[in-house]
Each structure stands twice: as C-alpha cells, then as structure tokens.
Symmetry: C2
Subunit: 328 residues, 2 copies
C-alpha cells in the first residue's frame, strides 16, 4: 500500500503506524483511491489516470454526478463509502470502519467490466457491501440521508447555542437524544462547502421538503391534533425500527452466470438493475473466454433473491442459466 497526503507529517505518521508501506505514488498500482473533498477530486483523478496507467481509479467524494460526468474513462469508477465519523486524520482511523457498510459505486456505460470487478473485490475485502447506482441517483438520495441531516444537526446546535448565551443552564438539559442528533455537527466543516456546491439543487430541494414537513408538524402541535401526532410518530418509529442495520452476508448464496458478449455498459446496467431491485450482489467476477471479447459475468446473490434477479436480467436481454451453488 503506497499513499501520499498534502500534509507530509500525516503521511509519515501513517507509515509509522503501518497503514502505509511506502509514501509516494505507485505507477504499478492496481487500484488508486483518491480521498479528497469533491472540489479537488477531479484533478487528482485525472492525474492518477496518467501516473498509474494500469490502475482502476476511484474516489470517495460525497457527491458523484459532477465528477462522474467530467471523467469518462473506462478505468474510473466513482465511489462513496457510507461510513465515517466526526474524527479527523490518521488518528481517527478505524480498521472496522467499513465492516457491513454500504459502499456506493457509480459505473457508467463507459466502465470496463474488469475494472469494476477489481474495484468491487477491493471494497468487499474491506468488509463493505458495494451497491451500484447511477451518479445522479446517488446525489439525490444522499441529500436526504446525509447532507440535509448534517445541515439540520448544525442548525439545531446553533439554535441551542444562541439560547444558551441567555440561559446558562440550557446545555445542561441536553440529554442523550440531543447529543445523538447533533453529534455529526462536531465534525470538521472542511468538505461541506464543496458538497453543498456540488449537490446544490438536491440539497435545496430536500431542505424545502423538510421545511414543508416541519410546518405540517407545527400545525399538528398548534391544533393539538393528537391522532395526527401519534400517526406521524408511529410511522417514523416503524421506519426507524426497520432501518437496515449493518448486516453480515447471508448464509445462502446462489451463483448466476450471465454471458455479456462485447456489449458496452453491461456491467453498469446489470449492477444498477439489481441495486434498484434491492438485490445485494455478494460477489461479482468477469470470466473472459480465451477467444477475446466475449465473457461471462459471474454474480453471487442471496439464494432467496436469485430467481427474481434472473427474471429481471432476462427482461433486459441478459439470459442466464438457473442459479447454482457458488464454487467454494
């Protein structure tokens, strides 16, 4: 593992801790992970495509469309691991950070299937679950589950801080719920101006939606509408209790072998299709035939979902044989 950082001291510290084997750049790298905010990511990805000519390049920026649209290269695949903490720097590193986490990948029709399979296998080796989706869809969804919650946490914290200037006892009343809700506001603002600029429309739209919903809740309270409040809270409770937790891989898996011929965009289409259907791809491999362009995509999915996956694939013209037990 070779790595570098704008902050040389931090790179040296990573070397000392054994997180890196060498500081610098590796022209023979298999995979290059560009881990910068959304702003400088594009330039760094372009540079990595040149300096590591055989590598698959990915990034981890929280907004994907502007990057993925700008870089159409078979060796670049946008990525966004949905894990993190409010801690910074190498001291905040945690070897279990990605275990069971969702890691979004945004292949495009230009994506080379072998490159996708190589990146996917790296993501899996970190314990994360790769989910493929179009970059624009990712941005729309993270506005709702990440960007707007973050801005809301900061807003709540600032409201409380304003009031605390007048009432010094206020913050002593902040119990666990308030602490939980504002925890993410303790993080470094570093990436947020870039995120807000890159995903401006999605965030503005979602904030408008949140404001509209909060006004409805305000009206329920003002009208002492008890059944309305209970219905609102019951629905949220059920949804929160059903929020998928970090799950280990299912026991029963099934293998589907999909001939992909030399059709461009197959990898993006297949992974995105199964992602949209909520079917988790446990493993993915491209088995090339000896004669060149033709190949077979080997998908490993939850056995319970295999028939559904097969039907969906068939509807898009991907004919595969019946599910079988994966090779060990």
């Amino acid at each position: 593992v070779t790595g570098t950082d704008l902050d040389q001291a931090r790179a040296r510290r990573a070397l000392e801790l054994g997180a890196l084997d060498a500081v610098g750049e590796d022209p023979d790298a298999d995979v290059v992970v560009v881990a910068t905010p959304a702003g400088p990511a594009r330039g760094e990805i372009q540079r990595a495509l040149t300096t590591s000519p055989s590598a698959v390049i990915t990034d981890v920026a929280g907004v994907k469309a502007p990057i993925v649209e700008a870089i159409e290269d078979p060796r670049f695949i946008g990525g966004h691991p949905m894990a993190g903490s409010e801690q910074e720097g190498i001291e905040g590193a945690d070897p279990t950070l990605f275990e069971g986490a969702t890691w979004v990948l945004t292949p495009t029709p230009a994506t080379e299937a072998g490159a996708y399979a190589r990146l996917r296998s790296l993501v899996r080796s970190l314990g994360a679950n790769p989910v493929a989706m179009p970059a624009e869809r990712h941005d729309e969804l993270v506005a709702l589950v990440s960007h707007v919650p973050h801005l809301t946490a900061a807003t709540l914290m600032n409201l409380a801080a304003d009031a605390a200037e007048e009432h010094v006892t206020l913050l002593r009343l902040a119990a666990g719920g308030f602490r939980d809700m504002t925890r993410i506001a303790a993080g470094h603002p570093g990436i947020w101006p870039d995120v807000c600029e890159a995903n401006r429309d999605g965030i503005v739209e979602t904030l408008d939606l949140l404001v509209a919903e909060l006004k409805k809740v305000r009206d329920l309270v003002a009208a002492t509408d008890r059944p309305g409040l209970v219905a609102m809270l019951e629905r949220a409770r059920e949804a929160r209790q059903n929020l998928p937790s970090r799950v280990p891989l299912a026991e029963a898996a099934a293998e589907l072998r999909v001939p992909v011929a030399d059709r461009p965009g197959a990898i993006a289409e297949v992974t995105t299709l199964l992602g949209e259907l909520g079917i988790n791809i446990f493993d993915l491999e491209i088995a090339h035939s000896a004669e060149g362009e033709r190949g077979v995509m080997v998908l490993v999915v939850d056995a319970a979902e295999a028939d559904r996956a097969r039907t969906a694939l068939a509807s898009r013209g991907y004919r595969c044989g019946p599910p079988r037990v994966p090779r060990p």
Copy 2:
C-alpha cells in the same frame, strides 16, 4: 422500595428482578416518585399527597408548568431527569441511567426547604446532578433541546421512508450520521401527545424558529455562499464540542452556610439563582436550629465558584460567611 404499575405483570416482573421490595403503596414513604406521562400526572400526585401523608412527592413528566401551577403544596416538587432511552418497560431499566445526568427540580415559593433537601439527596444518591429552575423556564428550554429535536428526528425519518418507497436502495445509504439523528424516533410515541399538548406554545415557537433558520441555511446553499456555510458549520462544531458531557463531581468543593430564617420561598430562590448562574450545587442540607423556625441552609458548591455564589446570594439579601471546606 414499594411500587405499583397500571400493568400488574410489569409490577410483578419488577418485584422478581429485585427492583421493588413490595408491590403496592406505602403510606410511610419518605419520597413518592410519580412516573406517568404529563396527562395523568396531576391526578396521581394529588392521590400520593393523600395516601402518603409524610412523603415528599415528585414526578418525572417532561413538561412542568401545567403540573407545578396546578399543585401548590409544600410537599410537592416537580422533577424531570434528563436521561432516558428509546427502550421501554422494566427490561429497559439501566442502573447507570442517571449517572452524571442533569435532573431538573422546580421548587416554588411554596416549597418546604426540608422537602427539597430530602428530594435533592435522593436525586444525588442516583448519581444525578440536580439543577433547580422555575417550571416555565424548564418548559421553554426543553422545547429546544428535547421536544423539537424529537419531532425533527421523526420528520426526517418519515421523509426518508417516503423516498424509500420509490428507491429501495435509499435506506442502505443511511450511514451513522442518519442513524444517530433518527435514533430517538424509534421510541414509543406514548408520551408525546401529552408533551405536545402541555408545551404547545413553546414547541410551536421553537419549530417556527427552526424553520426560519433552515430557510437561511437553504439560502446559503442556493447562493453557494461558502464563507457563510463555513461560519455556520464552524459555530455549530464549536458549540457541539463544548457541549458539557456527563461530568463527575469536581474535586474541590466549598461549603457556604446561609441563614434562612423563616422567609418563605428561600429554597426556590437560592437554588434557582445559583442554577441561573450555572453554579452547580453539589450538596444541600437544611440545618434547623433547636429553637424552631430559624435555620441554616448548607450549600456545597465548586470551590472555584464559591465567591461568585456568595456575591450573588448577598445581592438577594442572603448573607453568608466565607466559603469553607465541607465537613467530611
């Protein structure tokens, strides 16, 4: 410890677990804790004042003014422990729940000093830090640090649940920040209609404030106002990092002895005054003189705050001697 519950099975389970020594009511109780939602609390407090004629009565409802205004009794003091979890019932009990937590008490001019000292010492024995404040102030502050955050968590969760109906992958993108922010929405809605009714004005006012602030944030994002966003997030970050955590008692304590004569309301005035100044009262005792009505209130505070406390007390006509080291 004697206790009862509407649900007899739950009361028996508490007995089995050793949380109770007996099921029922104890006419000789020293302290009765009425632990019901805000709605039925008043009736239960009135009943306890009758059935336990020598006890101090307190409650734990999340809204205090309607209860405290309705029950003017020297033996009743409103309370609100700022601790809890989304778990329910006796199985959710946690012996460390109150350790280091703030426990609001709302004495009034009618409150008997000895009753306050007795309740305070029970609260301290559970490891919590009592903070005295007027009931109205409590309600205003908890709208901001508890009620509105709870309603906001539920609103965010519902927005995500709506979107997830269309995009099944959405909830797989919900990482730690979203989970933290919506955790309280998993709790039982049980108490909330009562809370929203009892603290309606405070909640409506605070929701209006939150909506206004979220609109400002929306405008910052829409205008790509990077310095404005950074300033907003930096301020929230600093406030969140300075949020007092559950702190053990300070090492250095000082004792102040305040003659209280037979002046009504002294206990509420002194505890509320120090609370407003952010001075933590570690211990409080009423030492009655042998001759009856006159007495001395013994306050133990952080040694670093003792002079400030003494000056503030003097400004309200409470003359006390210089701080001294507390008796062991």
